[in-house]
């Protein structure tokens, strides 16, 4: 399908109009070349083939751009010479909306950013709020472990979603259905716990919205028992598949230096061999008390990113098993009158509780002045929340550092020199969630 919306200056410009700095952005910056060297690289297109290039537009409505990402590709034959991602087609103004919502309501907003792992978004927002309130050390044990449980299960469901879309993008249609099938099992558990399949708003400042339902342990165990053999199916269907390996190995290679310079995190950074996982390196919740391995790749190619995610599902299962063993009894939220609404039963009895409840949900609670940045490891990389508070019940400024937004900058570097089909594999392996990119 041909495209459409004309975004002028945001689009890929013809080569003849490029300035030295722009060429540098495309080829030289991540290698830390000097401007002159980059410009020299950029002079290459003066060869007679220059007029043979064709600019095509992938997206914003294209089956393999994971929503509304738009890529402009400059092709020579089928080889990608340049690529420019154009984003903003899902810009929702969430950061502006976040300034209108109280800290109590903020979760509903952030959970819709990375819709593949909503619980991690809520978690980072809640942790940032708690840090501002100064209650981050007082969160009950059970709440911490519950948050870990949900976060890890969410990581699994997100990676399963990746398996599905990655399979679909490379033409393995069954894989798509299988990934969804397994994810559905996890969602079923979420629905039982939070009441919703997605966009839960379950992790809240001070703890969680509710306790785990009866029988949750069996539900989790069922997922844990089911998944290993399903993952082995994936191995048969994809990992060991010659076509699959051919399609992914050596495609979309990125070096550690490039990844660091571009600020890439998560599986992309780890695929280059850099061991960096916030769960281990800057532990939050109780991750320092569970055992797990940080999976790293070697080549930094699309296959490594696929394999890392597959292995991370297994690691998450390992963590979840430990959580099951160690889940303490206790309260699921902090008993701080300021941030926690009274229990439902007390509202019926006490007028005070009713007023308290009413105030918390209409006005919200006041948060001390200050600013804070909290980062956790989402399935896509480091998700950070920066909140500046002026002492009112709403954040003065709420900013989310979205991993996909940063990771997407790697696309031009991964794609250069590949084929159109590789471009699809590369987008898929970066696994961007556009809700998070555009916010």
């Amino acid at each position: 399908m041909t495209m459409i919306a004309d975004e002028g200056a945001q689009e890929l410009r013809p080569r003849s109009e490029l300035t030295a700095r722009e060429v540098m952005r495309e080829v030289g910056a991540v290698l830390r070349l000097s401007e002159a060297e980059a410009a020299k690289l950029g002079d290459l297109p003066e060869d007679p083939d220059e007029d043979q290039t064709m600019v095509i537009n992938m997206g914003p409505s294209h089956p393999s751009t994971h929503g509304v990402l738009r890529l402009m590709l400059e092709l020579q034959g089928e080889t990608v010479l340049r690529c420019k991602p154009i984003i903003g087609y899902l810009h929702t103004g969430m950061e502006k909306t976040g300034e209108q919502l109280t800290f109590m309501q903020g979760g509903t907003n952030v959970t819709r950013m990375d819709y593949a792992s909503p619980l991690n978004n809520e978690l980072v927002f809640s942790m940032a709020t708690e840090k501002l309130l100064g209650i981050d050390g007082d969160i009950p044990e059970r709440a911490q472990w519950m948050r870990m449980l949900l976060s890890e299960l969410n990581r699994m469901s997100s990676h399963l979603l990746f398996m599905a879309t990655n399979g679909m993008d490379l033409g393995a249609v069954s894989m798509m259905i299988y990934g969804w099938r397994e994810r559905e099992e996890v969602l079923r558990f979420f629905q039982k716990v939070t009441g919703l399949r997605m966009n839960h708003n379950f992790v809240r400042p001070g703890g969680l919205a509710a306790d785990l339902p009866a029988g949750w342990r069996d539900d989790v165990l069922r997922i844990l028992d089911m998944l290993p053999e399903r993952l082995e199916e994936y191995d048969i269907l994809m990992t060991g598949q010659p076509i699959w390996r051919e399609r992914l190995q050596g495609v979309g290679v990125i070096t550690p230096a490039e990844a660091l310079a571009l600020g890439a995190t998560g599986p992309i950074l780890r695929s280059t061999g850099v061991e960096w996982d916030l769960r281990r390196d800057q532990p939050y919740l109780r991750y320092d008390e569970v055992e797990f391995d940080v999976v790293v790749g070697t080549y930094g190619d699309a296959f490594d990113r696929y394999a890392i995610r597959l292995a991370e599902i297994r690691e998450s299962m390992r963590i979840v098993r430990q959580i099951l063993d160690r889940m303490p009894e206790g309260d699921y939220r902090i008993q701080d009158k300021k941030v926690t609404p009274p229990p439902r039963a007390r509202i019926d009895e006490s007028m005070e509780a009713l007023i308290h409840h009413f105030k918390i949900f209409t006005e919200g609670f006041k948060v001390p002045e200050g600013e804070v940045y909290v980062a956790i490891e989402s399935p896509r990389g480091e998700i950070g929340c920066y909140i500046a508070s002026d002492g009112s019940p709403t954040p003065y400024r709420m900013h989310v550092r979205a991993p996909s937004f940063v990771n997407i900058q790697c696309l031009p570097h991964m794609m250069r020199g590949g084929l159109v089909a590789d471009a699809v594999a590369v987008i898929s392996s970066v696994d961007p969630v556009l809700g998070e990119v555009d916010r």
Binding site: E7, Q10, R25, A29, I87, A261, W276, V372, Y373, E382
Partner: protein, 167 residues
């Protein structure tokens, strides 16, 4: 880091001649625009090789925020989060940017990954970054007027309408 702020100190600490504060246990360095690039470069040499985040805040309605002595509050603040993977530490830089001359040098040469972030800040706040390779809007359409995240920009809500409701 030569002079890390200590937990118990009351006098403002400094790092590379810039005041350093502690915000909920996190290290924050306050920079002026004139020393922005220079200090950032030094920080890279100290190991903060990765710029994880760059954003801005519009303090139009909150000019009386607490800042260390010697830092003049301006309307905009650009906030840069740096990460040192080797030593597992973070630092945050807050740069005051005046309303009248909302220009900062681009960090692109140091951290190519800030390219999209700086464009976003430009798009949302109207702070331009000199020497940025591609100073265009990123999230909003190119012909959009105004910078949405500024405090003098309304949220843009329209009254809720109920279609077909009896009037």
């Amino acid at each position: 880091m030569t002079d890390t702020p200590h937990e118990d100190e009351s006098a403002p600490a400094t790092m590379h001649g810039c005041p350093v504060t502690d915000s909920r246990g996190q290290v924050v360095i306050h920079l002026g625009r004139d020393r922005y690039l220079e200090v950032m470069r030094v920080l890279v040499d100290e190991g903060f090789a990765m710029c994880v985040d760059l954003t801005a805040v519009d303090y139009l309605d909150y000019m009386d925020r607490s800042l260390p002595a010697g830092v003049e509050p301006e309307r905009f603040e650009v906030v840069v989060n740096l990460l040192d993977i080797g030593q597992r530490r973070r630092i945050r830089a807050r740069v005051q940017v005046s309303e009248t001359d909302a220009v900062l040098p681009s960090l692109f040469d140091l951290h190519p990954g800030t390219e999209a972030m700086e464009r976003e800040v430009f798009d949302m706040f109207g702070i331009s970054f000199s020497d940025h390779p591609d100073p265009s809007r990123i999230l909003m359409p190119e012909d959009w007027i105004g910078h949405p995240l500024r405090k003098d920009y309304e949220v843009g809500s329209i009254p809720v309408q109920f279609k077909g409701a009896p009037t």
